[in-house]
């Protein structure tokens, strides 16, 4: 796929900087569209189209955007869950994830984990909870055999599960508890980096708060790094240190949480933030309503991908693709408005 002449795979490589646990540089992931009699590739869905960001150890980066903008694909591509990437670099602890041999990758896997969105479909209904959590622990020899049972109890305890839950099956649990099982499963491998793919979207408000608090506590205790994917901006604001805003495969803006929420620069970020409903009936929001919906990633608009819905759109936006620029220290935006 990378050999395809139509795809621009050229990326200026970055040097490893030890303060960052994860460095993503120009990451692209295209999915081929097959068509015709002999299943020829007729086009590409540009799910992730050039994403660049760095993530410091022990921090949380929130990734927000509308559905279909490539948040989840970014998370999964970083973990090498889709086979091959199309272009770009993913440096985890300075090591290019896509250059690892299968054996090395196997050793790397426990270090990077994922928590999925839907706790109802991401747990095997046929395995008891102890086995769900413990299977990978045995596979990767995280603890010696003698300590295995105690270790599982300890992990379950830290996630708010009782030891007698071990022999139960996932269907016996409520949504919030299932999500705890998912977190325990990821945590049991002593990871350094966890991709949280909308972990609270399927839960009720009061359960949501429990899970967010749990994630925060675990982060403090184990010095974890999170990539927190969500479309709920208020949750992202609460949990993140840095925030990235995605639109149609591009990271349009990214920086420290305070900068992004206090001073959103990209027109899309502004519109997104103005659309958040505020639980206060006396506040009347001045809302920027975006016209239409997100275009198809198989056939994205030319130039700046947001120009079809942007209120500040100029002729230049229609032809020239904007590049990421640093406006204030650590606050990057990809928009022609700030040239």
């Amino acid at each position: 796929m990378a050999k395809d002449k139509l795809i621009d795979t050229a990326v200026t490589p970055v040097e490893y900087d030890p303060q960052y646990i994860l460095m993503v540089n120009g990451l692209k992931k295209y999915f081929p569209i097959k068509g015709g009699m002999i299943s020829k590739t007729v086009g590409y869905v540009k799910a992730v189209d050039g994403v660049t960001f760095n993530l410091k150890r022990g921090q949380t980066m929130g990734l927000v955007g509308e559905s279909g903008c490539g948040k989840t694909t970014t998370g999964r591509t970083i973990l090498r869950l889709y086979g091959d990437k199309t272009a770009g670099q993913v440096l985890f602890n300075g090591q290019e994830v896509y250059d690892l041999t299968p054996r090395e990758l196997n050793a790397m896997r426990p270090k990077m984990q994922i928590i999925f969105q839907d706790p109802f479909s991401s747990l095997s209904p046929r395995l008891p909870v102890g086995e769900i959590i413990g299977e990978a622990v045995r596979q990767h020899n995280i603890v010696p055999k003698e300590e295995y049972n105690d270790y599982i109890d300890e992990v379950m305890d830290s996630c708010g599960l009782q030891p007698f839950h071990k022999d139960r099956y996932p269907h016996e649990f409520s949504g919030g508890q299932r999500q705890r099982i998912c977190i325990a499963r990821a945590l049991a491998l002593k990871p350094e980096f966890i991709v949280c793919d909308e972990p609270v979207s399927a839960l009720d408000v009061s359960i949501q708060a429990q899970i967010i608090n749990l994630l925060n506590d675990l982060q403090e205790k184990n010095n974890l790094t999170y990539l927190f994917i969500s479309h709920d901006l208020s949750v992202v604001e609460h949990i993140s240190d840095a925030v990235g805003v995605m639109y149609l495969g591009n990271l349009v803006e990214y920086g420290a949480k305070e900068d992004i929420f206090r001073n959103p620069l990209h027109p899309y970020t502004e519109a997104l933030f103005s659309a958040i409903p505020v639980p206060d009936p006396t506040v009347k929001m001045k809302r920027i309503v975006l016209e239409g919906s997100i275009p198809s990633p198989a056939n994205p608009p030319s130039g700046c991908k947001f120009h079809t819905r942007c209120v500040h759109c100029t002729e230049r936006c229609k032809v020239e693709e904007p590049v990421q620029k640093e406006i204030e220290p650590g606050h990057f935006v990809a928009c022609h408005k700030y040239d």
């Binding site: 009720d204 408000v205 009061s206 933030f273 659309a275 409903p277 505020v278 309503v289």
Partner: protein, 379 residues
């Protein structure tokens, strides 16, 4: 006992289901009657300015493991031209309340065993929904009450074109309409809900539209016959924030345009604050607090409402740790006989172990069910 909690012997289970069948059969017989005289379900509204009045409503579900009291005595009014927001966690009975208004409860298990729902038909006439037979209900649904569902994906039929589905609603309720005028009206409806390419969409299938567009089509179908009351059951939960903003704007405009009331069901407090004039907070099948939006958001009284508000992170407000309500919702088959929220409440007093607290009026519109407010009233 702890391990066998919720376990039933076969004998016991059979006895329950036999008993259930006896009860539900009697109810079904009532619903299926033909040519019922109108006088039987005609009633009077308590206040003619209300569009719908719920009074002491008890829809129960007769399941094989026992009777589930999904909603246990709910009373509130929906005034004409106002939006009433119903909030609560999943399983608290929000949807069941709205479905009983439509008489769309899963039958035969789901039955309204007690209470009344009065629907204002205009001109001083009112219908008692709980007593109305199926025949009558079919005429009411769509014409007077209509519903916008949560999942636009599943609410539309994937094998029919958009135009046909909207046409069907119009044809069913207006038999005298000619085919051309139905088509015209459908196009008009699609334009009204903000679909620019209405002729094109008319010929499309649901899968060709995005989530926001689908929800617009569902709204168009709901508004086809200018209903008096629209039930919006989590209409924006499946949508993105930017699309949600569009749909909420649209709903607000349309409500004023056809002068109807909206019963807005959601678990998102932000959406409620924006949409609702009156807010009803439900917990475990009962109303714990109701009042105008301002009262509820500025002076929440019930510990559950306060907890719910604190557990939601708010943009621009910094907290170190989110408040989370401890414990979980009680089992609807086996409800405690004291305040349902007592086990999770951090503010409970000695009295809370007594029977379920009655309603305390804090102001003309603000009511709360909690013992903490008994004193101020002087009991």
């Amino acid at each position: 006992m702890a391990k066998n909690d919720g376990y039933l012997s076969v004998k016991e289970s059979r006895r329950i289901s036999r008993e259930n069948r006896r009860i539900t059969k009697a109810f079904e017989k009532q619903h299926k009657r033909k040519n019922v005289p109108e006088s039987e379900y005609l009633t009077q509204m308590k206040d003619p300015n209300n569009s719908v009045e719920f009074e002491n409503l008890h829809p129960y579900f007769f399941t094989d493991v026992g009777t589930s009291k999904a909603v246990d005595g709910v009373s509130f009014d929906v005034p004409i031209g106002k939006t009433v927001g119903v909030v609560g966690e999943s399983g608290c009975g929000k949807s069941v309340t709205s479905l009983s208004l439509m008489q769309l409860l899963q039958r035969p298990q789901g039955q309204i065993v007690e209470g009344s729902i009065r629907l204002n038909m205009g001109d001083g006439k009112a219908y008692e929904i709980t007593k109305a037979p199926n025949e009558v209900m079919q005429k009411l649904r769509g014409n007077y009450i209509s519903m916008i569902f949560q999942e636009p994906m599943t609410a539309l039929n994937p094998v029919f074109r958009i135009g046909e589905q909207v046409n069907e609603v119009l044809q069913l309720h207006n038999e005298e309409m000619s085919e051309e005028s139905v088509h015209e009206r459908t196009i008009e409806l699609l334009e009204m809900v903000g679909i620019a390419n209405s002729e094109g969409v008319y010929k499309m299938f649901p899968h060709e539209l995005s989530g926001g567009m689908r929800q617009r089509v569902v709204i168009a179908m709901a508004l086809a016959c200018n209903p008096k009351i629209i039930i919006a059951d989590e209409p924006t939960t499946a949508l993105d924030v930017t699309i949600q903003a569009q749909i909420l704007d649209l709903l607000r405009q349309l409500k004023d345009k056809i002068n109807s009331s909206i019963m807005f069901i959601t678990h998102d407090l932000g959406v409620i604050a924006e949409m609702a004039d009156i807010v009803v907070v439900m917990y475990a099948g009962r109303i714990v607090e109701k009042g105008t939006a301002e009262e509820i958001f500025k002076h929440p009284a019930h510990p559950y409402t306060i907890g719910l508000m604190n557990s939601k992170p708010i943009v621009g407000k910094k907290v170190d740790k989110l408040y989370s309500i401890p414990g979980k919702v009680p089992n609807p088959i086996n409800m405690p006989d004291y305040c349902y929220f007592k086990d999770r409440c951090e503010l409970c007093v000695d009295k809370c172990s007594g029977e379920y607290p009655g309603v305390v009026k804090l102001s003309d519109t603000h009511e709360v069910s909690c013992y903490r407010y008994y004193k101020k009233e002087g009991e």
